[in-house]
């Protein structure tokens, strides 16, 4: 990866002030009393995205994902810090920056519905300084690429939600930007449309060398697409790691010992290196699930000691499995358990 990131957020902060009506009782309802609320959409967020990388931004509703996308595209001005796109400050060089990025925000609403996909691309192409034969050629290529060739002359209002989403991606790509920002690109789509969009995103990065930022709620999408993932919660970047590393973050701690009979969890509670013990009796038979310390030496010592105790107790050990974490579990652990304690990494790791 090159040294110069295509997107860089440097200690970015953004706070919104909103009002909401109290509606506590009849009096507050009648007098329409409201309370002022401070929403921290970004608190000292820093991360970078390299060329050819798919970066995922995950977080619960209202975490600040869309705000981050809007700050990169210059639609929202940060209160503090700076956003750079290809080394250009978004605040100072917004026009140049906009020539380099394509954005899909609520994709189905991006296009002009009375026009056809081809006409939409011609319109937005002109708006983004693309014209003539280049515009025509690129429009056709993009519609082929995204799979809308057959629908290029059908009015957008007659297209399905997935097709509108695909068109929105074409619109974002019409000026051949180096950076593509996709806000929830697969939300509300059926399996086929979602699959098609995921494939196109991968092609864009692997074959066309684009850098893509994806915000999503769909863990499977993130796990499948993203090279690196940032988890954001209440405006804070909880962690930012390569996807594989993020999945390993907790998986190495949990080991399941499948046994011939149900174990007594209390026998293993006081062992050094063991954090938690749980006796399970599921469909696959009785098992002992142990959460051990992450540190390698302590973990090995604990595992040997468990095996020794199981032998002494007369248990027949059938298998030992290291539990594979899903991104969903990691996400939930990071956004719930670790929210109260210091994050494993508030800054990014590469």
């Amino acid at each position: 990866m090159s040294a110069q990131p295509l997107v860089e957020l440097d200690h970015v902060a953004k706070t919104f002030y909103t009002r909401h009506f109290l509606h506590l009782d009849e009096e507050t309802r009648r007098r329409r009393l409201y309370a002022r609320r401070t929403v921290h959409a970004a608190r000292d967020i820093s991360f970078t995205i390299q060329p050819g990388e798919v970066f995922g931004l995950l977080g619960p509703n209202g975490a600040g994902k869309t705000t981050a996308v809007k700050m990169i595209s210059g639609l929202v001005r940060p209160d503090g810090g700076a956003v750079y796109v290809d080394g250009l400050d978004v605040e100072r060089r917004r026009r140049q920056v906009l020539r380099q990025i394509g954005v899909v925000l609520e994709g189905t609403r991006t296009s002009i519905w009375p026009l056809t996909p081809l006409e939409n691309l011609a319109y937005y192409g002109n708006l983004k300084d693309v014209r003539g034969a280049e515009l025509k050629d690129r429009s056709h290529r993009l519609l082929d690429f995204i799979g809308l060739r057959d629908k290029k002359n059908v009015q957008v209002r007659r297209l399905s939600r997935g097709e509108k989403q695909k068109l929105a991606i074409c619109i974002a790509l019409i000026a051949d930007p180096r950076i593509i920002l996709l806000d929830e690109p697969t939300t509300g789509l059926d399996v086929q449309s979602s699959r098609a969009i995921k494939d196109r995103i991968l092609e864009m990065t692997r074959e066309l060398g684009k850098c893509v930022l994806v915000t999503t709620h769909d863990m499977a999408v993130a796990q499948e697409l993203c090279d690196r993932i940032g988890i954001i919660n209440k405006g804070e970047l909880v962690t930012c790691r390569p996807t594989a590393e993020l999945l390993d973050l907790f998986s190495e701690q949990i080991f399941a010992f499948k046994l011939d009979r149900a174990p007594a969890a209390a026998e293993f509670q006081d062992m050094p290196g063991v954090i938690a013990v749980e006796a399970e009796n599921g469909e696959e038979g009785p098992a002992l699930a142990l959460t051990v310390v992450r540190e390698a030496a302590g973990r090995s010592e604990a595992l040997y000691e468990v095996i020794a105790r199981l032998r002494r107790g007369g248990y027949q050990l059938r298998s030992i499995n290291q539990r594979q974490q899903t991104l969903e579990n990691v996400f939930l652990q990071l956004t719930t358990d670790l929210r109260e304690s210091p994050a494993p990494s508030g800054r990014e790791t590469k």
Binding site: L75, R95, L105, I112, P114, Y123, K128
Partner: protein, 304 residues
């Protein structure tokens, strides 16, 4: 400037496609407008009495440069005086024009925000002002064409007279349009930040509409404060000047006692119109830019 023309081209194509694709809607718009205005005139007619109706075999319309008072005993109905009727129709159409142009920046902007198109315009490297300018130019020219057809049809029906001066008419239409554009930018800027002002803007648009309908020189002879206020509003001078040219034939070259609309003499409507253009356009664009920045700070740009 190149960017503006690129955006303008895109807007012309978009507008042409939509007009062509929805030709029935465009046509019915003109027919409904025509019907509505005629109903209004018939309403005035019935107030004035049936004798107000011009005979079917009346001679073709003649050029009238001075408005003659109705002879004693003849009711002052509108159609008994086609010039007066045409004046109202013209006022009505200027009012609709003002209503439409300012509406592009208020309800139009709200609609675009709701559809999500506004976000894409904000993401255009040419900037929101350029995009809106191009959009309003196309919208304005469309309105001028459809209003022109409607005005011609009604004037023909009423056997009224419309004058056309190849210098004065385009200059006045352009100045009126620029004036309204500036005012629209100012209101639009407010709508960018305070989305709900779009509803209040309807009142402003109705005031402009009413003013265009009833604007005449006599309005400017009241209290100086009222006169100053009327001069400040973007349609008063524009409507008076357009009525001078279209109804009374006060173009560049006139004969007899009628003076040109460009003459530097009281009530200086043409010169107030130029002043208004400069002030409203400057103020409007500055206000729009400031509000756009404020909207970005609030995080509401492109959202409704």
């Amino acid at each position: 400037m190149r960017g503006f023309f690129l955006v303008l081209k895109a807007e012309i194509v978009r507008s042409w496609i939509i007009t062509r694709r929805y030709w029935f809607r465009t046509l019915t718009g003109i027919i409904v407008g025509y019907g509505m205005l005629m109903a209004l005139i018939i309403g005035f007619m019935s107030r004035g009495g049936m004798d107000a109706v011009a005979p079917a075999d009346a001679p073709p319309t003649t050029v009238v440069t001075e408005q003659a008072a109705p002879p004693p005993g003849v009711p002052g109905g509108l159609v008994s005086d086609p010039t007066k009727a045409t004046r109202y129709v013209l006022g009505f159409i200027i009012g609709l024009f003002a209503f439409g142009i300012v509406g592009l920046f208020t309800q139009g902007l709200q609609g675009m925000a709701q559809m999500g198109v506004l976000e894409q315009l904000c993401l255009s490297p040419h900037g929101l002002v350029t995009n809106f300018l191009a959009r309003s130019v196309v919208g304005g020219v469309n309105t001028i064409f459809s209003s022109g057809i409607m005005l011609w049809l009604i004037t023909w029906t009423l056997r009224g007279t419309l004058y056309w001066d190849w210098v004065a008419a385009p200059v006045l239409l352009a100045l009126t349009f620029i004036n309204l554009l500036g005012f629209g930018f100012m209101v639009g800027g407010l709508v960018l930040v305070f989305k709900q002002t779009g509803q209040l803007a309807i009142i402003v648009r109705l005031v402009l509409f009413g003013l265009a309908l009833f604007a005449e020189e006599g309005l400017l002879h009241g209290h100086w404060l009222m006169t100053a206020f009327l001069h400040m509003l973007p349609v008063t001078d524009a409507a008076i000047c357009l009525k001078y040219v279209f109804i009374q034939g006060q173009g560049v070259a006139t004969g007899g006692p009628v003076t040109s609309v460009f003459a530097f003499e009281a009530p200086y409507c043409f010169y107030f119109l130029i002043l208004n253009c400069v002030v409203w356009t400057g103020l409007g664009i500055v206000c729009f830019k400031v509000m756009e920045n404020h909207s970005r700070h609030k995080g509401t740009l492109g959202a409704y």
